[in-house]
């Protein structure tokens, strides 16, 4: 019973990793750049939600939607003004640029909102569900359901809408997409905005658990493990990878005595390194085999 309890907690925190990893994957699939500032965008999302819901006193649902829209618009502008300039530069330049942007966001957040730890009330805070020995908090349920809903929305968007198909086309072959008349630059900016929006959703869902401060941007780094495990480039892989990382972390935390002290904090990174050494394709990678030299 304790095991099931742990797994449910793990799935909930894993969904957050999965959502952040999803942001990496969307951008990587389209533009072959990795956004190291994903965690910082998540942090901005949480702070904006705090301002709207906690300070201005908006309704949770309205505040949530508005936050996602604001951060998505921010992601769009970020690509259109800054990221686009270094397309075609070596990967190193993108890595450094997004790391630099991450620092700017974090610095901005701590100047604008201060370094205090905030929280805001949600419809789920403090409520728990008890069934047959299991204790599940409403916050965790909200995270799991939120992730599932988002997945369904994204899946239908990419499968059934014209613009979603255009996105898949431009990530498949940039030049061919240009030839058939897809506005590739606009599409890329749109992908950045979706990715930022997903990070904002993760930020708002996470806020009741970890509270809001600048350190939650570190989740972005753990989410790399989820993305790599799922096979960088696969959307369901990102979520499954995230859930596995979440469960592993919970288990390592509980059975710390059998392993070694402090294993929980680095378990995600250990999984990452192991995946890269043993099975670098990742679990769900379809055709994009990792190039070996």
């Amino acid at each position: 019973m304790q095991l099931i309890q742990l797994i449910i907690d793990g799935v909930a925190s894993g969904c957050i990793y999965g959502l952040v990893a999803l942001g990496f994957v969307l951008i990587y699939k389209a533009t072959e750049t990795i956004n190291f500032a994903q965690g910082d965008i998540l942090m901005l999302g949480a702070f904006v939600a705090f301002s709207l819901i906690g300070v201005l006193g908006m309704n949770y649902i309205v505040g949530f939607t508005l936050t996602v829209l604001i951060i998505a618009a921010f992601g769009f502008l970020l690509d259109a003004t800054i990221i686009r300039q270094i397309i075609g530069q070596p990967p190193f330049a993108t890595v450094m640029l997004t790391i630099g942007l991450g620092f700017i966001f974090r610095g901005f957040a701590s100047i604008f909102w201060g370094t205090d730890i905030y929280s805001f009330s949600t419809p789920f805070s403090g409520k728990i569900l008890q069934t047959g020995g299991l204790v599940i908090s409403y916050v965790n349920i909200s995270i799991i359901i939120g992730t599932a809903v988002l997945m369904v929305i994204l899946f239908s968007f990419f499968s059934f809408t014209k613009i979603g198909v255009a996105m898949r086309a431009s990530s498949e072959n940039q030049l061919a997409a240009y030839y058939v008349g897809i506005p590739v630059k606009f599409i890329f900016s749109l992908i950045w905005s979706i990715s930022a929006g997903v990070a904002a959703v993760a930020g708002v869902l996470l806020a009741p658990i970890t509270l809001v401060d600048t350190s939650i941007s570190l989740i972005g780094l753990k989410a790399f493990a989820a993305a790599v495990l799922g096979g960088f480039g696969s959307i369901p892989g990102a979520i499954v990878g995230g859930i596995i990382i979440g469960i592993v972390e919970q288990l390592c935390g509980t059975y710390e005595n059998y392993l070694f002290e402090g294993v929980r904090e680095i378990s995600a990174y250990l999984v990452l390194i192991l995946t890269l050494i043993v099975y670098p394709r990742g679990l769900f990678s379809d055709k994009a085999e990792v190039k070996k030299v």
Binding site: G88, M96, F232, I273
Partner: protein
């Protein structure tokens, strides 16, 4: 403008390009040697620190600037160097023996870590080294027998030829000696076939492979050499700090090293020194910035990371060749005057290069 007539093939790879180079660099070394007579102990300490940063910068430059592989985990190598050195010194091994051991240990660690990870392409390395940085920091905390854990580890004050290293003049000369030595080693590595294989890998992996460069081996070698230089810098850093704590060698230090090479200028050894001077004086620069900003912003702790990020983004977008690149442009402007063309250094327009097959 100087015209060099090449009469031998060796001239392309000579250490110094012409007599002007030899004159100016000799003058620079003489100036550095007389420095302790000119300035006081505080600034001498600062310059020693800059020398240490420059050595670490050379390490990362060989990996990132010349082989084109981004590492976000070089603080781990600084840590390995520092802890190994301090551990050996506390067990009574003299400085002169300890330094080569440190270099060998960091080289081997680099090779062992590098071999599995470097077989992967592109940005996986950046992610993997990021993970390594966290794991290394964790090991420094938990492996108490070796590192003293969170309590920290005092670095014994050491003597060379009977003179204590706590004397700032002696320490300055020591750092300068190792900087000149590392610089010389790096120049020679880079003009050897190994170094040119690194540059070939950076410019085109496929072309390098076609010419018979074994990518896996050379990438691992680059990682190991890079680790060795950074480990040496770590050993000197241990003396500079005097007391090692695990949280010194965190991700922020890795990123500072990356800032160093980006600001200095990617793909040039001059850039390591320029970047080290910049990073060494960054705290003072931030203090000056604080004076000019309104007090409500200046007192915020978030200012430092923000400026860090702004500098990084500015250099990547507008000065991708760094301070050294700007210096080259200014030099060329005067050499070519009045026929300098802006287009000489213009970025070419490119499509996204794909890693996918």
């Amino acid at each position: 403008m100087r015209f060099i007539f090449k009469t031998k093939y060796d001239q392309d790879i000579n250490v110094s390009r012409h007599s002007g180079d030899r004159f100016w660099y000799s003058l620079l070394i003489i100036t550095m040697l007389t420095m302790p007579l000119l300035i006081d102990d505080f600034y001498l300490g600062e310059i020693s620190y800059i020398c240490i940063l420059a050595i670490a910068g050379i390490g990362l430059m060989i990996l990132s600037g010349y082989t084109g592989l981004a590492s976000l985990g070089h603080a781990a190598f600084l840590g390995i160097g520092a802890y190994t050195h301090a551990f050996l010194l506390t067990h009574g091994i003299p400085f002169i023996v300890s330094i080569p051991i440190v270099i060998i240990v960091s080289f081997l660690v680099g090779a062992i870590i590098g071999i599995p990870i470097l077989r992967l392409s592109g940005m996986y390395l950046a992610i993997a080294t990021l993970a390594l940085c966290f794991i290394a920091e964790h090991v420094f905390i938990r492996w108490e027998h070796f590192t003293g854990g969170n309590r920290g580890l005092a670095v014994p004050s050491e003597e060379i030829l009977g003179i204590s290293l706590t004397n700032s003049t002696v320490f300055y000369y020591l750092c300068l000696f190792f900087l000149v030595l590392s610089m010389f080693a790096a120049i020679n590595i880079l003009r050897s076939p190994t170094g040119r294989a690194f540059v070939a890998i950076r410019d085109s992996e496929i072309a390098a492979q076609s010419l018979g460069v074994n990518l896996g081996i050379y990438k691992a070698l680059s990682f190991a050499i890079s680790g060795a230089f950074t480990g040496l810098a770590g050993a000197l850093l241990a003396h500079y700090i005097g007391y090692l704590a695990p949280d010194i060698f965190n991700i922020f230090l890795s990123l500072t090293l990356l800032l160093l090479i980006v600001v200095g200028g990617m793909g040039s050894l001059h850039g390591c020194v320029f970047g080290a001077i910049f990073v060494g004086f960054l705290p003072q620069l931030i203090a000056i910035c604080r004076d000019y900003l309104p007090s409500s912003i200046a007192s915020q702790p978030g200012l430092e990371p923000m400026l860090f990020g702004i500098i990084l983004v500015f250099f990547i977008l507008y000065e991708p060749l760094g301070i050294y690149g700007r210096w080259m442009k200014i030099k060329l402007f005067f050499e070519m005057f009045p026929t300098y063309k802006k287009q000489t250094f213009k970025k070419q327009k490119v499509f996204t290069k794909t890693d996918r097959v």
